[in-house]
Amino acid sequence: MDAQLGERLWRFHGGVRLPHEKPMSLAADPEFAGVPPVLVVPLRQHRGDAAEPVVRVGETVNRGQLIGEAHPGRITARVHAPATGVVTAIERREVIHPSGLPELCVEIETRAGGTDEDLPPLDWQTCDRQALIDRIWEAGIVGLGGAVFPTHIKVDPPPETPVDLLIVNGAECEPYIAADETLMRHRPKDVIRGALMVARATGAARTVVAVEDQMGAVEHILRKTERDLGAEDLQIVKVPTIYPEGGERQLIRVLTGKEVPSGGLPLDVGLLSINVGTAVAAYHAVEHGRPLISRMVTVTGRGIRQPGNFEALIGTPVSYLIERAGGYDDDIRKLVMGGPMMGVPLPHDDLPIMKATNALLGLVDYEVTRKAPELPCIRCMACERVCPAQLLPQQLLWYTQQGDFEQVEAHALFDCIECGCCAFACPSQIPLVDYYRYAKSEIRARAVERARAAHARHRHEVREERLEREQERRARRLQKKREKLRDRKAKQAEIQAAIQRSKARRKSGEESDDAL
């Protein structure tokens, strides 16, 4: 193993230091949130295509039973029943998504009893690589860090880009979110074994678990577990807590000094990173045959009465989980899925927990109130200083406001990761990320529009060409005819031929109609 790894850390450009709010939910031990009376399980909880429902309304399903089948060759993932019960509806429901668009969901009225339909356990240390990958697919494992990319694809890199280093990402850099930290604190064995197992599945040469320096005892716990399990070839590296260090590209930079090419993948530089929660879920899928039907969710913030971390079934209503955390504080103003920087604001709590739901954050009045009204940009470049993508956020704002999207693209808008550092650093209190989201959607819409226009233009041109060709042909035919008719004899023959043709046609027309 490379002893150098972790000895030297690199820096990424920018980033901000945010108040450390994780301890808020870590005071109490994690609990199982319980089985709510009704679960609403979305069939698209991941990147790519939605799973196809394979159950019918009225059907009884067992815990762990497949309810959403997915196409193995595509970017998609399977979905399983989180608890035993009866399917009461399969219909489009509102889910947690920035677009607010409804998704097809399976509603399950839970009931006690029934049997678990877990998959047969595998021995992760002896079974072959492909078996691990297949199991990850079967169990519907997706990235639990937020991107929800199907894990079976991720851990199966093409042979031409082997994995040199696997990074198990425990740097949960947004404040408040402590789901991964909870796993590392309370299930360190699963974390270490999960890391080793994923390393085996990916064929990674080296593996590192990255934790943040503000996580205190976590590093120690993992090191001790590592020793206990005799897994010393795994490295544990503590990285400084600077938001957005948990971002894949930023963490890779800090650990290795490498930059993932813009528009490329970590694999392009021989790296693969996977979230701690994902590694644990994959481990459970193999060791216990348990599909991904629950996850650790941090319920926290000053807007929540008793913050804590809960093992929640997928499909659990947000309101149910909030109730388990003591309910709302009277001053709550915003409910966010995720962290305070990149989280998705929820309009209400009648929404299901999904595989991507790492945290529910209740923010109170004074936390979300702007310090001053929005002012024009003063070009101070505080945004440039904190941008981890090394963009010029101020110029992006300027060109977006001008509607000059060509320049917006020239200033690399699509390299923006929407981490929100710029907005957090802006003394003019400008919601910069809103502008970038707007610009991105506008540019995409224009690209579609352009493509449509190009298509229409192409069709028009082809039609014009065709009409021209026909006209020419007609003109040529007429010309030929005229030439022929100049000759008298030929003219007579032509007339005769025409009469013959007409006769023949009439005759055959009597026999069958379709001759015409």
């Binding site: 990424f12 450009h13 590209r249 930059e259 813009s262 528009g263 490329g264 709302y328 709550i332 103003r333 915003k334 409910l335 966010v336 305070p340 920087m341 990149m342 989280g343 604001p345 929820l346 309009p347 209400h348 954050l361 923010l363 979300v368 109130t369 702007r370 310090k371 001053a372 009204p373 002012l375 024009p376 003063i378 070009r379 101070c380 470049m381 505080a382 440039e384 200083r385 981890p388 993508a389 090394q390 963009l391 010029l392 101020q394 110029q395 200033h411 690399a412 390299d415 929407e418 929100g420 907005a423 957090f424 650093a425 802006c426 003394p427 003019s428 209190q429 919601p431 809103d434 989201r437």
Partner: protein, 342 residues
């Protein structure tokens, strides 16, 4: 239960324009105190006049433009313009200089160009340049620290001078005013007098002009505070002062009789104030790190050129305005490398 759904980040920026500008004003305090110590209470009137005029014109323009008065008067950008302008003036400047300067700064340079954030030129420098171009003899109204030490003007005396132009009994303008150190160097060198000799004049201190050098050190202290508070970045001050040092040291080494020592260049005139407070103006400066280096470099070269060959003793204000013109071009060619790109 319904919740607010504004997009992230969900926690607001902890800083405001008001705080940034308050830091700038605070950072000016050491320089102002030195100014007060060496040049008397006149600066207090200049500051009050300029800041008052700046706020007045700002309010007027906001009203005419239909903008929110409370919001923009609170952002403190107009007082910063006023203060920087006042610090460029001789402390006994007549009262109307502040009014004229602020009219051009706030009305023309700031609001007619679109208001906060949109001005192409540094407003304080526009105001100052208008005044020194229109009234070129103002630099002769500087009262050297030396003569003030002999004939101190108190608050009331200063008030009378500034508002009524009447000097205390027994004093005449000729008796108390004199050329600034930069002025003196220009005229004497052109007369063929050696610098070593010029510097024996009592208006010089250890490095720069007597008093002026301490005021500059005051600005330096304030500038370091701004760096510490991350209100400014190191690029402009380092590029500007570094360029001055690099360009003047060889000249001094070759011919110390005709070329001032780098520290003298830095500690006289508006060099330090310019490097930390004026060329760092975010609105009219470059928006890229490399661009800010070029901006500082340009200001330094132009200032030295004006000091050496120009018609004015100091050139920071002109240089800043000239470099302001170049900002869009600089920005265009100094875009930083995007993360993960070649």
């Amino acid at each position: 239960m319904r919740f607010e759904t504004a997009g992230g980040p969900h926690i607001p920026a902890p800083i405001t324009v008001h705080q940034v500008m308050r830091d700038v004003l605070l950072a000016l305090v050491p320089g102002i105190l030195a100014h007060l110590w060496f040049f008397g209470p006149g600066i207090l009137f200049q500051l009050a006049l300029a800041i008052g005029a700046a706020l007045g014109f700002e309010a007027l323009m906001l009203k005419l433009r239909g903008a929110r008065l409370d919001l923009h008067l609170h952002d403190l950008t107009a007082p910063v313009t006023g203060a920087l302008y006042a610090l460029c003036l001789p402390p006994l400047m007549p009262w109307w200089a502040a009014i004229i300067g602020m009219f051009f700064a706030i009305v023309i340079a700031k609001h007619l160009y679109g208001g906060l954030g949109n001005n192409l030129f540094n407003p304080a420098m526009v105001g100052f340049v208008v005044v020194i171009v229109a009234f070129p003899n103002i630099s002769t109204t500087w009262v050297p620290a030396q003569s003030l030490a002999e004939n101190p003007l108190n608050l009331i005396d200063s008030f009378k001078v500034i508002f009524f132009g009447t000097l205390p009994d027994g004093l005449t303008w000729d008796a108390i005013t004199g050329a600034t150190p930069l002025d003196l160097i220009r005229t004497r060198i052109s007369e063929g007098i050696m610098l070593t000799e010029i510097r024996t004049d009592e208006i010089f201190g250890k490095y720069g002009g007597k008093g002026f050098e301490w005021v500059s050190i005051g600005y330096l202290v304030g500038g370091l505070y701004l760096l510490y508070r991350k209100v400014i970045t190191w690029h402009v001050p380092v590029a500007m002062l570094g360029t001055v040092a690099v360009l003047t040291l060889p000249a001094y080494a070759m011919d110390p009789y005709n070329n001032p020592f780098p520290l003298q260049h830095i500690l006289t005139g508006g060099m330090v104030l310019g490097a930390f407070f004026i060329a760092t103006d975010p609105v009219s400066g470059s928006t890229t790190p490399r661009g800010r280096l070029i901006f500082g470099l340009g200001v330094a070269i132009l200032t030295l050129s004006i000091r050496r060959w120009g018609a004015y003793p100091d050139g920071v204000a002109f240089s800043v305005l000239l470099m302001n013109c170049a900002v869009p071009l600089i920005d265009r060619y100094t875009k930083p490398r995007v993360f993960g790109r070649e």
